[in-house]
């Protein structure tokens, strides 16, 4: 084997307080985010929050109004300088897949390898076809492949030139749920194997959790919180993040100590100081798995709806105060709607926000 171009491993990508916009109107404001070697980052947010614009700015398709984008000590973009997309060694996978219809699968994948020696490029394509499970499809044309297969080709095409960083813009949104569940872990494994760092854009938290090491939650052009999926889910810093990432409810409560509140479900203790003064009214975040079914409990809830999920039941129960919350129960606790069941809280960390109610 002749030597192929060596793997270029990303050490660090950082976005420093960047603003992106059109016609002097900022779509993304003051966004900072960084990922390091081997990490997969995710920009998570509802449609129109600016996450795709941010991704396009990293790729070099959008100029910056302020801030800098730095890749391994090289400044890619700033307010008065944009390095062309083709010079960044950043690959991209698009929402509409965007395979070139006039080229075979093989030629699609080899598209970015024009400066490689022919033998190297052939070998790289063969290797990638095998990696994405499509050996034997090389001579076919994109239109003859299924959506999932096309997405694999798009991934292979993007990582073929060994980019330092791969950007993926809602790569799974065109695929059906089952296919997505198969594809997500596959793609994560391929990225790990190829040692490519990546940034994914999605509005689907389950995709974000399945793929990412670092998640940035965005809303209206701002990054609200950056953290691991675990942190984002269990320690959201705002009501928006709490509600956008995962299910849950806000339970009204009154602070009764440095690490304790009083609610409809009795006194609840956390493991950390929450920083609110005693007597303050707060809303406590309770996830479905924070409320457990317990026949022994003195607190009761009336079942208003239920979902059987195979390994567990998810109930919606109404407390005596009228507040309706989720409740988790193991799958042999089959109760009917209208029945009253005992429930208890199991929480380590109190996530709460000053109450909106007067």
């Amino acid at each position: 084997m002749t030597a192929m171009p060596p793997n270029k491993i990303l050490k660090e990508l950082s976005l420093n307080s960047i603003c992106v916009g059109y016609h002097d109107k900022a779509v993304v404001e003051d966004a900072s985010f960084r990922i390091v070697e081997g990490q997969i980052g995710c920009l998570l947010g509802p449609s129109g929050c600016g996450k795709s614009t941010l991704l396009r700015a990293i790729a070099g398709f959008e100029p910056l109004m302020a801030g800098t984008i730095v890749l391994d000590n090289e400044e890619l973009s700033s307010a008065d300088h944009v390095l062309s997309p083709e010079k960044r060694s950043i690959g991209m996978v698009f929402q509409d897949i965007a395979l070139f219809p006039h080229l075979t699968i093989r030629d699609n994948i080899a598209f970015g390898l024009k400066s490689w020696a022919k033998r190297d490029s052939q070998a790289r394509v063969d290797y990638l076809l095998d990696l994405v499970g499509l050996s034997g499809f090389g001579e076919r044309y994109p239109h003859s492949l299924s959506g999932g297969q096309q997405q694999r080709v798009a991934l292979a095409r993007a990582i073929a030139p060994k980019p330092k960083l791969l950007l993926m813009d809602e790569p799974f949104s065109g695929l059906d749920a089952k296919l997505r569940e198969e594809l997500v872990p596959d793609i994560r494994a391929i990225l790990m194997h190829e040692r490519v760092s990546a940034i994914l854009v999605t509005h689907d938290q389950s995709e974000a959790f399945a793929m990412a090491d670092q998640v940035a939650v965005m809303e209206s052009g701002k990054i609200l919180q950056v953290g691991t999926p675990y942190e984002i889910y269990h320690e959201p810093v705002s009501r928006f993040v709490a509600m956008f990432v995962g299910q849950g409810d806000f339970l009204p409560a009154v602070v009764c100590g440095d690490n304790c509140v009083h609610s409809d479900l009795g006194e609840i203790h956390g493991d950390l100081n929450h920083g609110f003064a005693a007597g303050e009214k707060v809303d406590l975040l309770v996830r479905p798995d924070d409320i457990l079914h317990d026949d022994e409990s003195q607190f009761k809830g009336l079942i208003v709806s239920k979902w059987f999920r195979g390994s567990y039941f998810l109930y919606r129960v109404k407390l005596s105060s009228g507040k309706v919350i989720y409740c988790f129960a193991s799958s042999h606790h089959n109760h009917s709607i209208g029945q009253e069941i005992g429930i208890r809280v199991e929480l380590d960390h109190l996530v709460m926000f000053a109450s909106n109610a007067r």
């Binding site: 944009v82 062309s84 997309p85 083709e86 010079k87 991209m92 698009f94 070139f100 970015g112 993007a158």
Partner: protein, 555 residues
């Protein structure tokens, strides 16, 4: 090219001067000038010639044009609709062959079929000569129909224009849901009854659109009506222009004709919108075709063969015979004619398609209202008769020439000739106005296949903008650009009235030569030029047929 390249989704594009957008707007404005000139002329008051025309001939123009339109409507309906229904819903011997053969008359310009049938059926033609020989009767002792009449004109026009009705209604019949027709059968309707009560009304918007297209071509026709001595708008415009030399009156007449065309354009657009409502979600009525055998099969065959034979096979064979055996032998003269036609058509195709590319890329890269409006207005010319466009081109160019000549004379005391009017430039300008719509349509549909994300994919895979154009756009656009070039080329080759008005002195093309020879009653000698036009005209028809028959096998 460099403008295109630099604008291709680079972030900086928005901050630079938008050259592409400005060029697109400029092209659109230039192409709109001829039409605007005519529109303005409608409102400019009457001159004496105008008054004279109004008193004497305008009534003739209007009534003849209307009669011709009624006749052509009838003729195209009778030939187009049954053939469309038979080939799309029924199965009979030759059905597959007829479904494309019925398009062949599209290759036959109306004036050429008119010359051919006149040569065949007039007093000195082979048919009447044969009758005289067999019966021994002499001139005036027997009745024979007069080819060169209003009736003859509408038969000729119908024979070559019915494919518009056929194409549109066939597409409508194919779209009709099989279920709708089957439901009517279960409710007690017989197949013919269901055709009249359901299939026909459902296809009506499409049929109307097809008829409207045929009528536009009828209004635009000059060669046939002029040869047959039927006075219509187009002959009136020519008469006023050449006979009276009155540009103002000619353009006023063109203005009235424009009003007629505007009504047709409106009708056509309206029908097209209704076609969408009438199309049912579920496709393919023709899964189970109605089998026609025996007598009904033979009748179906006959109904489809008559248009094909009369509209193409007979006139093409006659032309071929004349060209090969009876016409003056082809000489150097003919080579020059062909070369003139060829380079004129090729230059027009190149110019039109290049400008279409500029507009199409401007629409793609600048999502602005002004550019979209530019694209719409640039496509206006196609509905307009060549005579209107020619007058609209010559008025501003003649004005411009006179200004320049005066200016040069004043400044240098030198007399110079015409620069724009009466040169190839005027002709090319007129062709561009007339045929921008077809090439723009083709180029835009091709560019639609290149999604913006493909540009970005190319860039992120290490291609510069120029490489993105070369490696992605060029291969994806190639076939639609070639199609556009071909269509414009063939249309220019066939075009007669604008060429007649605008051609430089002593400059002849195949179409003009055929027209002149026919006008001199040398129909047989016109055959080689005519045959050449028909043969080249066959190329796009064959392409169209092929796309139709491949859609057929898929269905």
């Amino acid at each position: 090219m460099s403008t295109l390249t630099s604008q291709l989704s680079t972030p900086r594009a928005r901050r630079r001067l938008p050259w592409l957008k400005l060029s697109a707007l400029l092209v659109a404005i230039l192409l709109a000038v001829p039409v605007l000139i005519i529109v303005v002329n409608i409102f400019l008051g009457g001159d004496q010639v105008w008054q004279h025309l109004y008193d004497t001939l305008l009534f003739d123009y209007v009534s003849n044009s209307l009669l011709l339109m009624v006749g052509v409507t009838f003729g195209t309906l009778v030939m187009g609709v049954p053939a469309a229904w038979l080939t799309s819903v029924c199965h009979f011997p030759g059905q597959r062959m007829f479904s494309w053969a019925l398009l062949l008359p599209l290759a036959m310009p109306a004036y050429i079929i008119a010359y051919t049938y006149t040569g065949l059926f007039d007093f000195a033609g082979p048919v009447q000569t044969f009758i005289r020989e067999v019966t021994g009767l002499g001139y005036g002792e027997y009745w024979f129909f007069e080819m060169r009449s209003l009736g003859g004109a509408f038969v000729m026009l119908s024979l070559v224009l019915y494919p518009y009705v056929y194409l549109m209604s066939r597409a409508a019949f194919l779209e009709q849901s099989a279920n709708t027709l089957e439901v009517s059968r279960t409710l007690g309707y017989s197949a013919p009854h269901a055709f009249v009560k359901l299939a026909l009304p459902m296809a009506r918007p499409a049929i109307v659109a097809g008829v409207t297209l045929a009528m536009m071509e009828t209004l635009a026709d000059y060669g046939t009506v002029q040869y047959f001595g039927v006075t219509t708008f187009t002959t009136g415009i020519m008469r006023t222009f050449y006979g009276f030399g009155d540009l103002a009156a000619a353009s006023q007449l063109a203005g009235v004709l424009l009003l007629f065309v505007a009504v047709l354009i409106f009708t056509e657009r309206y029908s097209r919108r209704k076609i969408k409502y009438h199309a049912s979600g579920i496709r393919k009525a023709s899964q189970r075709r109605i089998p026609l055998t025996g007598l009904s099969g033979a009748l179906a065959c006959l109904a489809c063969s008559i248009p094909v034979l009369a509209g193409f096979v007979v006139p093409a064979s006659v032309l071929g015979y004349w060209a090969l055996f009876e016409a003056e032998s082809i000489g150097w003269d003919f080579v020059i004619l062909s070369w003139n036609s060829f380079y004129l058509a090729a230059s027009a195709a190149l110019i039109t398609v290049s400008l279409a590319l500029v507009i199409a890329y401007a629409v793609r890269l600048h999502h602005s209202k002004s550019v979209n409006a530019a694209a719409l207005s640039a496509g206006m010319g196609y509905a307009l008769p060549g005579t209107i466009i020619a007058i609209g081109v010559i008025v501003p160019l003649a004005w411009l020439d006179h200004q320049i000549i005066a200016l040069v004379k004043q400044m240098f005391d030198v007399k110079i000739g015409l620069i724009f009017s009466g040169t190839i430039i005027a002709l090319l300008f007129a062709y561009t106005v007339r045929f921008m719509a077809v090439s723009l349509g083709s180029v835009q549909s091709g560019l639609g296949k290149v999604k913006p994300s493909m540009d970005m994919a190319g860039r992120s895979l290490g291609c510069s903008p120029a490489e993105v154009l070369r490696r992605i756009h060029v291969p994806l656009l190639k076939s639609s650009v070639l199609t556009a070039l071909l269509i414009v080329f063939v249309d220019v080759l066939k075009e007669l009235p604008a060429t007649l008005i605008l051609r430089p002195f002593n400059f002849n093309t195949l179409a003009v030569r055929a027209f002149e020879l026919a006008s001199d009653e040398r129909l047989v000698d016109a055959a080689p030029a005519s045959l050449m036009i028909v043969l080249v005209g066959l190329i796009p028809v064959i392409l169209l047929s092929r796309s139709i028959s491949s859609a057929n096998t898929n269905g």
